[in-house]
Amino acid sequence: MAIDLTTEGLEPAEPAAGVAVDRGPRNAVREFDEPVGWRRAGRYALLAAVSVIVLFPMYTTVIAALKPGDEVLDSPLLPTAFTLDVLREAWTSGHLGRYLVNSLVVAVIVTVFQVVTSVLAAYAFAILEFPGKRVLFLLFIATLLVPTEATVVVNFQTVDGLGWTNTFIGLSAPFLATAFGIFLLRQVFMTLPRDLLDAAAIDGVGHVGFLRHVALPLVRPTLGALALFSFLGTWNQYLWPNLVVTEQDMNTVQSGLRLLGKSNIDQPNLVMAGTVIAAVPMAIALFLFQRQLVKGLTAGAVKG
């Protein structure tokens, strides 16, 4: 039976309460929020000064990454030399190309799984009713407090026992679900207006159908935020990949960076070049999706 999901009752004309409006500069009330005159200049100055401070470590890193070996020790603040050779060497001798791919694969796997499992669980907690729901939810949230140190050794034994060391599935297995995602999505699912649900119930749409066709499209920004967080978190993992990988080919870019750092202590420019290469993909992702990230987070997530 075809469901018409575009009727006004189902699809709100404006975003539902709790689903954020982007309050970036283009939507701000111009007259109220825009400083003028010397206030404007002052604000610019402050912004610029803080930006310099924030960017300073990255600046020195990039400078060092572009200097050849014999010049790396002079004037760390000035780009006195320029060469791409160091970057090239970090790429090849550090096998960073392969490691970037590994990180990407693992991050994608984990992100997809985390989003899927979180959506399902969050929906259950937000919309469904069942005994012990509150207690179960608290238990799920409590898993966020379990430190990696407590689980890492046993998880390694589990993964080793299954023969998953040095595999993508071994690298991703412990992180395929996360209570953080459940928490985030439950928040936003709970802000969905009740009438949407009732209307769907009247139309005989089951939970799965409702989820797929109505709920998910409405919470897309939050899904995006969760996906970005999952991706970032997995990309930046340090302890687990170091543990579970004994074949160099399967290193993620963070382990590869650690290997590069320890193997080439006498060549700081090489190590810096490695960090630049490792940070670039994330920087690009951030640049492209920063707006979505903020949008997704304002959708009820931080409202408790």
Binding site: F140, P174, V302
Partner: protein, 289 residues
């Protein structure tokens, strides 16, 4: 209910089960390979908690959290408020402020390691900086037991700055503008509006940031591994609890039972800490409008 199953299974196998095993292991002493374990009962937990080494690590961890959490929150809020104005290029500044999200623990720590090296580091070789802080060059902030922890904390705060900035910005943007407008119409100045409107309504966000930041501070490992390896000798003032468990120079490196026990103690500490925070701050937080 079946919708819960995937998450439940994964969290069960990879979080709950290991925690359970760790709790059992924590009251055993085993050989270097984790075999031939002897159970000692809950006394072992108490002994471990009260031991000199654990107490030292606990002190370091608390000190570390006391530096990074307030500093991180202040910096994040400060930056978010600074960038919360309508300016044409504000988008660019916001991207800059959130840029540290792109750095992982390894990347950020390596950057700061390079910055702080007494011989070749940028900070250690900037004339005006070293005249204010001579210890950055001799013996070096990471080499001086008095400043090492602060140096690691600064690197950690910097690395988490982007994340905090994004969270607080999101929080700021959920505050309805009309509240501010109405207050302004009534004659309230910027500062007054900040304290009466912004801060209370940022409550949930701030709580979230504080909880996440302090949980992170209690689990600091990678920074210490790369920057100080546990701390300049002999006081080793940067050995946090996670580093006490898994660090290269840890005395319990080959004692699986003690490692598991310390990890469980860390979990209990985090539980208590979050409970305290939720009760203490959470109660004063306003929800909704």
């Amino acid at each position: 209910m079946a919708m819960l199953l995937p998450s439940a299974v994964i969290l069960g196998v990879f979080v709950v089960y290991p925690l359970g095993r760790a709790m059992v292991l924590g009251q055993q002493r085993c050989d270097n390979f984790g075999n031939n374990c002897v159970s000692n009962g809950l006394d072992q937990y108490v002994d471990l908690f009260r031991s000199i080494e654990f107490q030292n690590a606990l002190g370091v961890t608390i000190r570390f959290a006391l530096i990074t959490v307030p500093l991180g929150v202040l910096a994040g809020v400060g930056l978010a408020v600074l960038a919360d104005k309508y300016l044409r290029t504000i988008g660019g500044f916001r991207t800059v402020f959130s840029s540290t999200v792109a750095t992982s623990v390894a990347v950020a720590s390596l950057m700061w390691l390079f910055l702080l090296q007494p011989s070749v580091g940028a900070l250690a070789n900037m004339g005006w900086f070293t005249s204010i802080f001579p210890s950055v060059k001799d013996p070096g902030w990471l080499q001086d037991p008095g400043t090492a922890l602060v140096a690691v904390a600064i690197s950690s705060v910097w690395a988490n700055l982007g994340f905090t900035f994004i969270l607080v910005t999101a929080g700021l943007q959920s505050i309805p503008r009309d509240l501010h407008e109405a207050a302004a119409v009534d004659g309230a100045g910027g500062v007054r509006r900040f304290w009466s409107i912004t801060v209370p309504l940022l409550g949930p966000t701030l709580l979230f940031v504080v909880v996440v930041s302090s949980t992170r501070a209690f689990q600091a490992y990678g920074e210490i591994d790369i920057l100080t390896g546990g701390g300049p000798q002999p006081e080793n003032p940067t050995t946090t609890i996670p580093y006490f468990i898994y660090g290269q120079n840890s005395p319990i490196r080959n004692d699986v039972g003690l490692q598991a026990g310390a990890a469980v103690l860390l979990f209990l500490l985090l539980l208590a800490l979050s409970g305290l925070q939720l009760a203490g701050i959470g109660r004063r937080v306003h929800y909704g409008d």
